[in-house]
């Protein structure tokens, strides 16, 4: 079976709510496995986004980037993103828009439609485990993300992006 939909989450599980992205990806993966859907998607987890994540976009029809956010809408926000030609400036971090731009410029073709799911975090200190607010955001986002995976088309996701989160 071809995996035409890319799911990428990143974050550090030792930095409190920074673990929101990987946590949601793991919960989603467990749910997708139990419902026999996991093989429809490519699952990517990392500490940070990097230039080689552009390679994961090759052959995809849809991409979802999942991250924790600070001072972002609660419990989460979901929106389409486009290649951004003004990317990061260190080797230690890169926004998803820049990954799309690297793909576009390297492969000389536009990337697939892509979206971000940003879960609001509260506490990014060194510790394991999510804050209570982040746990609530995770539960809300999980229900929402299941809707996304149940209908993985750009049109359906765009309609959800334009609707209120919950």
């Amino acid at each position: 079976m071809t995996t035409e939909v890319l799911l990428t989450a990143w974050g550090n599980t030792s930095r409190g709510d920074d673990a929101l992205g990987p946590s949601l990806l793991q919960r989603l993966n467990a749910w997708a496995l139990s419902s026999g859907m996991a093989e429809r998607f490519e699952w990517v987890e990392d500490f940070q986004l990097q230039i080689d994540h552009a390679l994961n976009l090759e052959g995809k029809t849809l991409a979802l980037y999942i991250d924790a956010g600070q001072n972002t809408p609660a419990p989460f926000s979901f929106s389409p993103i486009s290649p951004l030609k003004q990317p990061w400036h260190t080797t230690h971090a890169m926004p998803p828009e820049s990954v799309l731009a690297v793909f576009e410029q390297t492969f000389r073709k536009p990337p697939c439609p892509a979206f971000t799911l940003c879960l609001k975090g509260e506490d990014f200190g060194i510790r394991e485990g999510l804050s209570l607010a982040a746990q609530n955001a995770l539960e809300s986002a999980l229900v929402f993300a299941q809707k996304l995976l149940n209908n993985p088309t750009p049109e359906a996701w765009l309609a959800l992006a334009h609707a209120p989160p919950l």
Binding site: T13, I51, H89, I126
Partner: protein
């Protein structure tokens, strides 16, 4: 006292802060104090060192530590894993690993070197080299390179990807790998995995040679600029094996002075507490390591690619050694100290890493099944490795209940603290002193910082993001105007006070 470390007075001076703002704790910033003629009186790189990770480690079982410390850095988690494993080897009395275990760890580590240096060279450094400092700042990045030089950009991505694949096959997975464990490794390499890794190597080596030639061409076109940019002389520290060759996995530490003469020809890293000291300064949370016998003012040093290529007697792989000789030739029998040479050294190390990986994959030991050893249990262990950015020290004490009771980490960025401050002062004097402040000029300072690619995550023992904020303050620290590069890379400028 270092020149430009402390202004004689702050009266009548303005302050500029280049301030990376982190969403997690731990960040750094550059501050400059200027007078009305924009003459620089003080330049400092401050890094808020956040030692929380050492506390986080305390109380954990020792065998868990090599996995946990990978979360210190998203770019070189393998270096932390291996340094911790080497320390834990000592804890469990594993004095000599099996040949298979050591070679698989080396394979993992050289994969790490290749991927990290490739990201740095192609993502951070090559835009400066290929597009020039005067290029539109927003285009001075991997995307700018991709637009103008698509082949180079793609090669960088694929070399990085290859390094990640080496890590995946040896560590079990790309992140949170568990391949290296105290006493050896827990995963053998299969013949299929070896063959897969061997397949693309000739092409990758050719690309890395192209990268080396790129820097050589850049130097030939701009020798005066290349040699003078951010130039300062300093001692250097790096790891060497018994015959003096470069070895990034294991060996003694060697310190040379700025003229290339040995200060300490070699010392066993397990004695580092007798050789190194760390100075605390009131204006920075990050310590300043130095060679104790020379004192803080003369005993500081730099680490990383440029240091290790000049502390070693030779690189034990032919293509990289030939490239090293070409780089050394620009010094006319003196060590090379220009800041841009860091990028040259870094791509030579990519080439070296790929050559070593090729040799290791040709070695039948890497397919062995004898993976672990152990010996008499000890209470204390020190593991040192050459991470991509330089010497990395992990030091632990473990009690009889197998819990860590003490953890001390000295990371590459901390070793380079004084060197980075000196580089910033050099660039500030060269390009900013007495001139109008602009984003382009400030990029020169960023470039000097980029050469070291400080890992603020490691230095602060946290993982964070680093958007840049530049403040123009008066001497009292009141913000007059603000230039901010946000998380998307966009630059915003605003006046804070009308007066």
């Amino acid at each position: 006292m270092f020149e430009l470390e402390n202004a004689k007075t702050t009266q009548g001076l303005r302050r500029i802060a280049i301030d990376p703002v982190s969403r997690v704790e731990g960040h750094g910033k550059v501050t400059l104090l200027l007078d009305e003629q924009n003459k620089i009186h003080q330049a400092r790189l401050h890094i808020v060192e956040f030692r929380g990770f050492e506390i986080f480690i305390k109380g954990r079982p020792y065998w868990e530590v090599p996995v946990t410390v990978q979360r210190l850095c998203g770019i070189c988690p393998v270096s932390h894993q291996l340094a911790a494993c080497k320390a834990m080897d000592a804890i469990i009395g594993a004095k000599q690993l099996t040949p298979t275990a050591e070679k698989l760890r080396r394979l993992m580590h050289y994969g790490q070197l290749v991927q990290s240096n490739a990201v740095h060279f192609y993502h951070l450094a090559s835009p400066d080299l290929l597009l020039g400092f005067d290029c539109e700042p927003t285009q001075r990045n991997i995307i700018g390179v991709a637009m103008k030089y698509p082949d180079i950009a793609k090669q960088g991505i694929l070399i990085r990807k290859y390094g990640q694949e080496v890590i995946r096959h040896t560590a079990g997975k790309r992140i949170h790998g568990t391949g290296a464990i105290p006493g050896g490794v827990n995963k053998a390499l299969t013949a299929a995995e070896r063959d897969e890794l061997k397949k693309d190597l000739p092409q990758l080596i050719e690309w890395a040679q192209g990268g080396v030639e790129l820097v050589e061409r850049y130097f030939e076109a701009n020798p005066a600029f290349f040699n003078s940019f951010g130039l300062f002389e300093s001692s250097m520290m790096g790891m060497v094996r018994e015959d003096g060759a470069l070895d990034i996995y294991h060996g003694d530490l060697r310190v040379k002075d700025a003229k290339g003469e040995p200060i300490i020809d070699r010392f066993n890293y397990e004695t580092y507490t007798q050789v190194l000291r760390e100075e605390v300064k009131p204006w920075s949370y990050m310590k300043f390591p130095y060679i104790e016998k020379l004192g803080p003012e003369k005993g500081w040093y730099k680490v990383g690619p440029l240091a290790r290529l000049q502390t070693c007697d030779f690189i034990p792989s032919p293509l990289a050694e030939a490239a090293r000789q070409k780089m050394l030739a620009i010094g006319n029998d003196q060590p090379v100290h220009s800041t841009l040479s860091y990028n040259w050294a870094r791509i030579i190390e990519v080439l070296h890493g790929l050559e070593v990986i090729q040799d290791l994959l040709d070695d039948p030991d890497v397919l062995g099944k004898d993976l672990t050893v152990k010996g008499e249990r000890q209470e204390e262990g020190i593991g040192v490795i050459e991470a991509p950015r330089g010497v990395l020290i992990h030091h632990y004490k473990v009690n009889e209940d197998d819990q860590v009771t003490m953890c001390n980490l000295i990371v590459s960025t901390t070793h380079n603290n004084q060197a980075m401050n000196t580089a910033i002062r050099s660039v500030a004097m060269q390009f900013l002193d007495g001139r109008v402040i602009s984003e382009g000029l400030l990029n020169h300072i960023e470039c000097a910082i980029r050469a070291y690619d400080p890992c603020l995550s490691c230095a602060t023992h946290a993982l964070g993001k680093m958007p840049l904020q530049v403040e123009l303050d008066d001497a009292e620290g009141q913000c007059l105007s603000l230039l901010r590069r946000d998380s998307s890379g966009r630059v915003h400028m605003s006046d804070i006070h009308d007066d």
